[in-house]
């Protein structure tokens, strides 16, 4: 992210979300128009493909992108900021002398894009002198001229700013009325209009939409000096503004009284609940450290899946390409060969770039490969990784999984995590039934702090709400909970997974990887799951 501008958008210096702001800022009305005609993009792409081939490229792909963001930032009864950004340009990637080359330009003229193609070939040829591993691309059949769009019902970019401000301020007011001292809420919209063309004969036009409404509600007890926050339970989604319609059919009431949301979020209701729960946290008893059976809600478990399954099964990490930054992986190739037991028999973890409402859903990835679903861990056994065209041969396979992504026209595409999810249990089981069977446990909802080592063995996770379970019943909130795991032991301790009626997705806009770092948005689904005998620590400290 070195070359990105950053903005602390929430006004909370310590807890502030650092939001990358690529591109230039534009007026609100420009978000709804300004699309580049497909015919124009095709002509530009053809010019680049021709120029690259003439310069000696054996392969070329072109991505012409228009990336839009909108942020509406509020705290309590104030609007702090409204920002619109737009970034337009083209990236050209080539193979010459068996080596990748990449160049990008923000000038969308035929001459500029041809010059970028020629420059990419020159870079490839220059680097080929020290290249020791020539690129081998898995074949992909050209798909001709096609298009794909996120199936949204309401384009959030076209909703008036006033409606957005009113909704956020209503949520803030509800939190304050319910006992919060402070509340920060932000609306964050993404629209990627991206066009891909390659010498394989593909011309793919895609229109991708994402929405996220992060919120933090804080309660303070000034007399004791104690403060506690609860984050909102809205998830970032691959949806339009319809996600904020508060459809009661998508509301999920959970054991203990907390409420989660499937594909429609009621931010006003959640803000009030967050205020009440944050205030309860101020006086909740502190956890006694030890081994507990954990019941993990999907709003929490997505992040554990992300860190302990999504990342270690990225093939570039396994091979060492990320060794200097994100790290490598414990899930080495020999483990796949030997049928490594990643989890218990109940555990099937699948990758999926087609899942509706998910952040990773697209029709085609950023090297023109149609997306799909595939298993990574099947019935507890490690069976596969996440791979793209230049990696498939390493596993003796002849096709990419379709999980290549670049966060901008100016960034080179590389292997990124698809949505990785835990398959629901096959037997009928509700969270209430699961909890009724737990003698001494903790029910965790929402994601808190998270940290994992560079090979993805040792992780520690917090949460938003922690409910003590005694003899099958929830007794109330407890505080200062974090659990520590060793990845294979954790997944082998999975003894029950609720059925698909409980399946929900969480996710992140900001999965970071690569140098310079790129951000990717990814979702992870699951039903509530139980893990026996997990080590819980108490995180309370006194500064005297």
């Amino acid at each position: 992210m070195d070359r990105r501008n950053f903005l602390t958008i929430t006004g909370l210096t310590a807890a502030g979300l650092m939001i990358p702001l690529p591109g230039r800022l534009i007026a609100a009305e420009a978000l709804a128009d300004g699309r580049i005609e497909v015919a124009v993009k095709k002509a530009l792409a053809d010019r680049a493909l021709t120029a690259a081939t003439a310069a000696g490229a054996s392969y070329c792909d072109v991505r012409i992108g228009r990336y839009l963001n909108q942020f509406v930032v509020t705290r309590e009864d104030k609007v702090q900021n409204i920002v619109n950004t737009e970034s337009i340009g083209a990236g050209v990637r080539v193979i010459a002398n068996g080596t990748w080359g990449f160049a990008a330009t923000d000038s969308l003229t035929p001459d500029a894009i041809a010059a970028a193609a020629v420059q990419a070939v020159a870079i490839a040829k220059a680097n080929s002198i020290i290249q020791t591993e020539p690129v081998q691309l898995a074949p992909v059949k050209g798909v001709g001229e096609v298009s794909w769009a996120t199936p949204i019902k309401k384009n959030a970019m076209e909703v008036p700013v006033k409606d957005k401000v009113d909704l956020l301020l209503s949520a803030n007011a509800a939190a304050l009325a319910a006992g919060a001292n402070f509340v920060n809420s932000t609306l964050f919209l993404v629209n990627e209009q991206k066009y891909f063309a390659s010498t394989d004969g593909s011309y793919i036009d895609q229109d991708v939409h994402r929405i996220w409404v992060p919120m933090q509600v804080t309660a303070v007890d000034q007399a004791s000096g104690k403060f506690r926050s609860r984050s909102g339970f809205g998830s970032p989604m691959g949806m339009g503004y319809e996600y904020l319609d508060a459809d009661p059919a998508e509301r999920v009431e959970m054991p203990g009284g907390a409420v989660s949301y499937r594909h429609s979020y009621n931010i006003v209701e959640d803000a009030a609940a967050a205020a009440r729960q944050a205030r309860e946290k101020l006086t909740a008893p502190s956890v006694k450290p030890g081994k507990y059976d954990l019941v993990l809600d999907p709003d929490h478990l997505w992040l554990t899946i992300h860190e302990s399954v999504g990342h270690p099964l990225e093939l570039d990490r396994v091979l060492g390409y990320e060794a200097n930054f994100a790290g490598t992986s414990f899930a080495t190739l020999d483990k796949r060969e030997s049928g490594f037991r990643y989890g218990s028999d109940l555990v099937t973890l699948f990758a999926d770039k087609t899942q509706p409402h998910s952040l990773g859903a697209v029709g085609y990835d950023d090297e023109g490969v149609p997306t799909k679903r595939w298993d990574l861990v099947k019935d507890g056994i490690l069976v596969d990784y996440q791979k793209i065209r230049d990696q498939a041969h390493i596993l003796g396979q002849d096709a990419s999984d379709g999980c290549c992504y670049a966060d901008s026209w100016s960034s080179v595409q590389f292997q990124r995590m698809p949505n990785v999810s835990l398959a629901p249990g096959k037997k009928a089981l509700t969270p209430e039934q699961m909890i009724a069977d737990v003698e001494d446990g903790i029910y965790i909802i929402g994601n808190g702090s998270f940290s994992i080592d560079q090979q993805r063995y040792n992780a520690q996770f917090g949460g938003q709400l922690f409910y003590e379970i005694k003899d099958g019943k929830i007794t109330g909130q407890i505080e200062d909970v974090a659990y520590q795991i060793r990845t294979p032991e954790f997944w082998n301790a999975c003894t029950a997974i609720c059925d698909e009626s409980d399946y929900r997705i969480g996710g992140s806009f900001f999965d970071g990887k690569g140098q310079p770092s790129q951000s990717s948005a990814v979702s992870h689904g699951s039903s509530t799951a139980r893990f026996n005998g997990i080590n819980v620590i108490n995180t309370a400290r006194s500064l005297g």
Binding site: D2, R3, N5, L12, T13, A14, A15, R24, L25, A27, A28, E29, A30, K78, V79, Q80, I82, N84, W100, F102, N127, I130, Q131, T132, E133, F182, V220, A223, G225, K226, F227, G320, Y321, E322, A323, N324, F325, F330, T332, V412, G448, S449, F450, S451, D453, Q454, Q455, Y457, N458, Q460, A482, Q484, R486, Q515, P516, I537, T539, R541, S542, L543
Partner: protein, 449 residues
Amino acid sequence: MAMFNESEARAILEKTIGFSNADECTASLNGGIEGNVRFARNTVSTSGLVDETTLAVQVAFGKRVGTATINRFDDASLERVVRRAEELARLAPENEEFMPAVDKQDYTATPTFVQATADITPEFRSRVAADSIKPCRDENLVAAGFLSDTRGFVATANSKGNFGYQTLTSMDYTCTVRTADDAGSGWVARNLADASKFDAGREIRTAISKAKGSAEARALEPGKYTVVLEPAAVSGLLMFMLFGFDARQADEGRSFLSKKGGGNRLGEKLFDERVNAFADPSNTDVPVLPWDGDGLVRNRRPIIENGVVRHLNYSRYWAKKQGIDPVPQPGNIIMAGGDKTTEELVASTRRGILVTRTWYIRMVDPQSVLLTGLTRDGTFYIENGEVKYPVKNFRFNESPVIMLNNIEELGKTIRINAGAGVGGGQGIAMMVPAMKVRDFTFTSLSDAV
């Protein structure tokens, strides 16, 4: 886009401001070139050059504010970006916390530009990669690393006559070296103002030595240990604490710097009296721009003095509301250290753990700044003043506030991070010392190498 010199930048900014019909207008130009080379598995993987210059314009009608940016600088584009900002400002609700642009300031140039760093070529980057890879290949080790360098400029002006211009450079190198059997891993990082002082062939020896020395690590019981933290290990922990040096959060009761019953702990002794840190934009080892994000003149100022908190960040709004003068936001933090090398800190340690770096640090509880994270790329057991053997990595759960009360000894201070700049690092520039600390809390073992 070429680097604009001072008169070119001034001409663009003045023309831009001249187009504005708003009550006030601030314009800034930020441009530069970032070059990089990335390598892994003992071969170059990617190499790039990004050249970007952006003009940002903020206008205000009363308390309604709009911002727009553009990357073209002809007259029509300059006028268009001003009109866009004005349109957005007219649509925006009133910002009750709006603060007018600063009056004309008097900036004193700081030494943020070093010619040798600006002169880095693709051949230089390629040589750094080769000098890192070859010695590793010769010893059956595997190198993965990244070199990134920038040269650029920043210019700012407003309709009240304020103007500032300065050029900047930066260079950051990291390399991880692993044994071919994945049993050992070492790391080295150098962040320098002057690229002519950089020698990858020399630096890589540190990572090689740690990679070879960390193989066959033994498991020690987690618990409280005396630790010798190298500066890179210290910086991650301090960074999180310094993010919390915010007056508004403290005054609102939601910070470790909040005072029970209200107010903040500015002026209180919270750390060991050997803890001293200050900001100084002119420091030659880690210079930063002479103005902050609001255009206020940065000055040398104490942050922590003999363990006493001497500075909190105030936004201009919060300073006004609290009835105090505006406080410039520091761009760097220099923590004072001692004369000892890391080896000398080890030599005076009877029993402890030497930590090369810390990794994946996250806030667990902002109430106490409890942080969790792990050791990585070289963790060793110390006994009777000597490094005895490598140990498995640990997860820690520790508060830097507690850590800075448990100091045994401070080592030499080095530059860690160039901070925010043109295409450069993020956050605040830092110089920190190596540190020997007692009772550092490790809570579990990691099998990761």
